[in-house]
């Protein structure tokens, strides 16, 4: 799959990848809760109407039904907004799917505050913490079109529950069609040496911007795409941090429990290192344009640069 776009939402990549997977796997099914045009499962619905199941506004039922379908040998994808899957439908997600080790891919759009002006009710800013803590769950937020296609495909290939989180709005295409991606393996997209910037999803390109601003100030940053928060690529992270001895984590999420939490846990046990976490500082966001939210909640490139300056004092 190729795109000519310079920027494209990762939910679009998901919608396209699903159709390819639908061809590849006759036992792949897709479940939806009334927002297929938004989650982009409508493309699959059009190609494979017999394998598409519409549950209406009933996420709990959909999640548990996914568990049921998975027990009959289906590769089961389900989609809704990240906030509804992780909050409303959390119980069947945990108790039936995670605990049952079932082959269900919870592929959700509008992760983080990418729903922007829809407001807090529609923003998913605690979900990574909740999903990461579930035994047996794989948690992935790809950063661009190509990594999304690859990682959705990889998710379909493994047997077990996976949480895939996509953006609402276009994000820059960072990778090339020939790049390879593996679940659980981070990617160093920039080597520097003075500080390690760990980011994922919509925050990766912002981290890259920050690294360019830092370069103009004579500071060289390692920028690493940690698309898989669980299982964490501990070797890659420790390798970079051992050299730089300074870390900033950057995520579209609360600073507790998600990528920042995972990295804190790792470093605390293996390599205590001064660290700053960029994300929502224990607050809900609000309705607003995405770029303005980034600025207001100190998650833009300037905030990352300032965090690095702070570490370098």
């Amino acid at each position: 799959m190729i795109t000519n776009a310079k920027a494209i939402a990762t939910r679009d990549a998901y919608g396209e990848a699903l159709v390819t997977l639908g061809d590849l796997y006759p036992n792949l099914v897709v479940l939806e809760a009334d927002i297929s045009k938004s989650t982009r499962t409508n493309k699959f619905a059009k190609e494979f109407p017999d394998r598409f199941f519409q549950f209406g506004v009933a996420e709990g039922n959909m999640m548990a039904a996914a568990a049921g379908l998975a027990t009959t040998g289906k590769i089961t994808f389900l989609s809704t907004y990240a906030v509804f899957a992780s909050m409303r439908a959390m119980e069947p997600l945990r108790t039936l799917i995670a605990y049952g080790e079932l082959n269900v891919k919870i592929a959700v759009s509008h992760g983080g505050f990418t729903p922007a002006n829809d407001g807090v009710t529609h923003q998913a800013t605690e979900d990574l913490a909740m999903l990461r803590v579930l035994p047996g769950m794989t948690v992935i937020m790809p950063a661009d079109y190509y990594s999304t296609v690859a990682l959705v495909t990889a998710a379909a290939e493994i047997d077990g529950p996976v949480y895939l989180r996509f953006t609402r709005d276009p994000v820059p295409v960072l990778y090339k069609p020939e790049n390879e991606f593996q679940i659980g393996k981070g990617i160093v997209i920039r080597k520097g040496g003075d500080v390690t910037l760990l980011a994922n999803g919509d925050m990766l390109h912002i981290a890259l911007e920050a690294s360019e601003q830092l370069e103009s100030k004579g500071i060289q940053a390692d920028v690493i795409d940690i698309h898989t928060i669980k299982p964490l690529d501990t070797d890659l992270i420790l390798d970079s941090v051992a050299r730089t001895r300074r870390v900033v984590t950057i995520e579209d999420h609360q600073i507790s429990g998600g990528l920042g939490g995972a990295v804190s846990e790792l470093l605390c046990e293996s390599l205590p290192t001064p660290m700053r976490r960029i994300g929502l500082q224990n607050t809900f966001a609000e309705s607003g344009q995405y770029n303005l939210l980034l600025r207001k909640y100190q998650m833009d490139s300037i905030s990352i640069v300032n965090a690095v300056f702070d570490l370098m004092k």
């Binding site: 099914v29 394998r51 959909m62 039904a65 568990a67 049921g68 379908l69 027990t71 009959t72 605990y99």
Partner: protein, 283 residues
């Protein structure tokens, strides 16, 4: 070839054994849910010893009928049936709730042979069953999915999500059975959260509905036979039951929802069940 009468008789006799095993295992575990296990015994016996097409040697047989105990706390009844059918040794029953054991306090599909779906937190089993029924239809497999729900469980909204959804997909291979013993934890259903008119509710959700005495083996057989013939919609059987059925001091008592019998109580219960059985055979 068994006559109808012989079948009913065989199943009734089996139900006594299952009741004894339920109480024995809960007693050994010193915890568990006898009341709601005894109220569903006759239904489960009819399913496991007559209706369900399953293979104990091959619990994951692709063409098996499926069963979900959505009211998962009543799992002693389920485990007793599974053991008696040969999914695991009957001796294992007294390891209920023990550490390192395969028989969890609430059904866990990754631990126990023959358990098709995890349950315990109420309200999810009908949805999971719906998913299974969808998957089977998709594959053109004629197997059925049976789900036993509790009455208190019908307070859970997710049940009604599933109820709205199943008729949309014409899931005539989905058969729900409600253990309507009218007792939940905090009192009678009528006091905590009344369900009536229950038949009308399910009809308004487009299910095919029957209402029976859940301890009348012939009525159970007839109802499931009828449900199996349904062509265009899912079926629900509202089974009026008695919590703790079969043990006089447990019958209709809220207290026996989640309490283990002590040594004397177990003895009394077993004796009572035995005496009913002897009476039954001699009739």
């Amino acid at each position: 070839m068994e006559s109808r009468e012989q079948l009913i008789n065989r199943l009734q006799i089996k139900s006594y054994q299952i009741r004894k095993n339920i109480l024995t295992m809960i007693h050994a575990a010193k915890s568990g849910h006898p009341g709601g296990s005894l109220s569903i015994t006759d239904i489960l016996v009819a399913l496991y010893f007559h209706f369900l097409d399953i293979d104990p040697i091959n619990p994951n047989w692709k063409y098996r009928d499926r069963f979900i105990l959505s009211k998962g706390h009543s799992c002693p009844a389920w485990y007793a049936c599974l053991a008696d059918r040969g999914f695991f040794p009957v001796e294992e029953l007294i390891t209920l709730r023990e550490i390192d054991g395969r028989l969890q306090g609430h059904p866990a599909m990754t631990k126990t042979p023959g358990v098709d779906m995890t349950s315990g937190p109420l309200g999810m089993g009908l949805s999971a069953g719906l998913g299974m029924a969808l998957g089977l239809k998709l594959d053109g497999i004629n197997s059925r999915v049976y789900v036993v729900l509790g009455d208190g469980e019908l307070n859970e909204g997710m049940v009604w999500e599933a109820a709205m959804c199943a008729p949309k997909y014409k899931l005539n291979n989905l058969i729900a059975i409600i253990d309507y013993n009218n007792l939940q934890l905090d009192g009678n259903c009528d006091e905590v959260m009344p369900l009536e008119p229950l038949k009308t509710k399910w009809e308004a959700f487009n299910w095919s509905v029957q209402e029976i005495n859940g301890h009348d083996m012939e009525a159970i057989l007839d109802a499931i036979d009828t449900a199996q013939k349904e062509k265009g919609k899912p079926s629900v059987i509202i089974a009026h039951t008695v919590k703790g059925k079969g043990v006089s001091f447990m019958e209709d008592e809220c207290d026996w929802h989640g309490k283990a019998p002590n040594d004397q109580q177990l003895l009394d219960a077993i004796n009572e069940i035995e005496s009913h059985k002897v009476q039954e055979i001699s009739l």
